[in-house]
């Protein structure tokens, strides 16, 4: 496969849980607890899981919003944890993000052209006219007419705003965009348009995506490969087609069962997984999914399963296989 643009190895992030003002940490929240994955050039990796499973923390680590506790993040073969100066700026230029809520991620007091131009102003010494041209070009790339440039964000609909956010992410010669639930806040009718637009952009520009989501249908549609996260760990990952054709980990199966059937007459399988995700402060012993697993065995509460190759490519961490 093509070269790896981003490779994450043994990534861990712990947050101290403190009691009181000067209290010693009474425990650690293991938000991300040893995660490995790689994203290739021009590829989309889908990261899926329930709320609180560590997907957003993972994205924060990659975006250098938080320092990792352990592990390495390699971007184009170079560890980016602890980067500074010009190397950091080069990374900031190549990696952008699109957040979930297009109403809070665009400054209400800036015009769209200024919002999109910001990364260009930071990273290039282009003149105003050249920046304008570039802004117009990326606006057209994301399917907006270039004459919307002088408008303010509140003059747009949610879908249009998200297009503006994508345009901004593409303004510099971006290599990787972290899409943090980019369509979760949008109407269903608009979601498909944005997803198709993202796929189209990837085909024309060769940009890579890390697509974070909890909606299986959306993630499965856009991603080439999918990693399923549960309580800070990846429990299964495989090519999108293989995973959809044969989900193996009971948690992955549960996610598929929880998704709506594609036809209203199809029978909706009874939800196999009950309860909530346990706290990341008190991770269950053995397999962290065993208290909710429909196929739990005695070994599951004692030995933590490791990722092993699964049928159809990819890996799964489960004692069933």
């Amino acid at each position: 496969m093509a070269d790896r643009i981003l490779e994450v190895r043994g990534l861990k992030k712990r947050f101290p849980a403190r009691a009181g003002l000067f209290g010693r940490p009474r425990g650690w929240v293991k938000a991300v607890d040893g995660v490995d994955f790689a994203i290739h050039a021009g590829e989309t990796l889908g990261l899926i899981g329930e709320s609180g499973c560590g997907k957003t923390t993972t994205s924060k680590l990659i975006l250098l919003q938080e320092p990792p506790t352990e592990g390495s993040i390699m971007f184009q073969g170079r560890d980016i944890t602890g980067l500074a100066g010009a190397a950091l700026m080069a990374y900031r230029r190549a990696v952008q993000v699109v957040f979930q809520d297009p109403f809070s991620s665009l400054s209400p007091r800036m015009r769209v052209e200024d919002i999109i131009a910001e990364p260009l102003e930071i990273h290039t010494d282009l003149e105003r006219a050249a920046i304008r041209q570039r802004v117009a070009a990326v606006l057209e790339l994301v399917g907006l007419p270039s004459d919307v440039a002088p408008l303010f964000p509140h003059e747009f609909s949610g879908g249009q705003r998200q297009r503006v956010a994508i345009a901004r992410a593409l303004a510099t010669d971006t290599k990787l965009i972290v899409l943090d639930e980019p369509v979760s806040a949008l109407d269903v009718s608009v979601r498909a348009q944005i997803i198709n637009q993202l796929e189209h952009l990837q085909r024309t520009l060769g940009v890579s995506y890390l697509f974070i989501g909890h909606d299986l249908a959306t993630v499965a549609h856009i991603s080439h490969r999918i990693a399923v996260m549960y309580l800070g760990k990846i429990v299964e990952h495989a090519d999108s087609d293989a995973l959809c054709a044969r989900p193996m980990h009971p948690y992955t199966k549960a996610l598929f069962e929880a998704a709506l059937p594609s036809h209203p007459d199809d029978r909706h399988a009874a939800t196999a997984v009950a309860g909530e995700v346990p706290s990341a402060m008190n991770v269950p012993s053995g397999c962290r999914f065993h208290p909710r697993c429909p196929a739990t065995m005695p070994i599951c509460s004692q030995v933590e399963p490791v990722l092993q190759p699964r049928d159809g490519g990819g890996e799964v961490a489960c004692h069933l296989y």
Partner: protein
Amino acid sequence: MRLAPPMSIRSRREAPLAAVVILAALVLVAIFADLLAPHDPTLPVPGANVFDPPFWMEGGSTAAPLGTDFQARDILSRLIYGTRVSLIVGLMGTLVAGAIGTLMGILSGYIGGWVDQVIMRVTDAWLALPAIVFAIFLAAMIGPSMWNIIVILGAVYWTRYARVIRGEVLTLREREFVKLAEIAGASKLRIIKRHILPNVANTAMVLASLTVGVVIIAEASLSFLGVGVPPPQPAWGLMLSEARPTLLAGQWWLTVFPGVCILLIVLATQLFGDWLRVKLDPQQRNL
């Protein structure tokens, strides 16, 4: 049945006419003081006695329509020129306080850490001192003059800005568009200039409009206490101070007229500030 919105809310959405008229009149008076004042405010009115009453009272004359003071100076002219002092000190003092306070609030809120600790502890200490006593102390140190008073009042009243602006910045820096700018590699200075400052401008404006009145009162108090604008420059607080010995002698026009002027200007700025606060506050605006 449709209910009309309550009167109090509806009227709050319109500019306070009285306040705007008073402020506009005072600004015009200050600008055209030279044309409006019948006499030189620092020299006795020719042919008038000391303590002449207003023209409608017995012994008054239209040469000094609101009477004369203990040096036979025209009170009306002194009031007219005094408007300049009050407005200049009120606006410039607020500007100085706003500039220092907004800068400190932004540094404190955005940079955080020990910078935040130092600025906030200084603010606490500042607020613990009674404002007027502190101002008298500073005035005694650097000497009385109108421009010194401006600097002093700026240095005394910046803390309220710092506190409020810091709070705004603390919520702003967690907003996604600020995160987005950080991820794009924007420097702290750039984020402050492009994202923080424009979003605290409204708050700073409202605070300013509410501070003007306080600063004007403080200037009048300092002048009254003799550490403000030095005589013979006409300032309302100074006029009150000079009239104090004769207050019980029945020469009420020496104190009532400057007092009413101070009342009007402070009332007008406060009403205007209150209206601005409601207008710029999105939660109250759409009522």
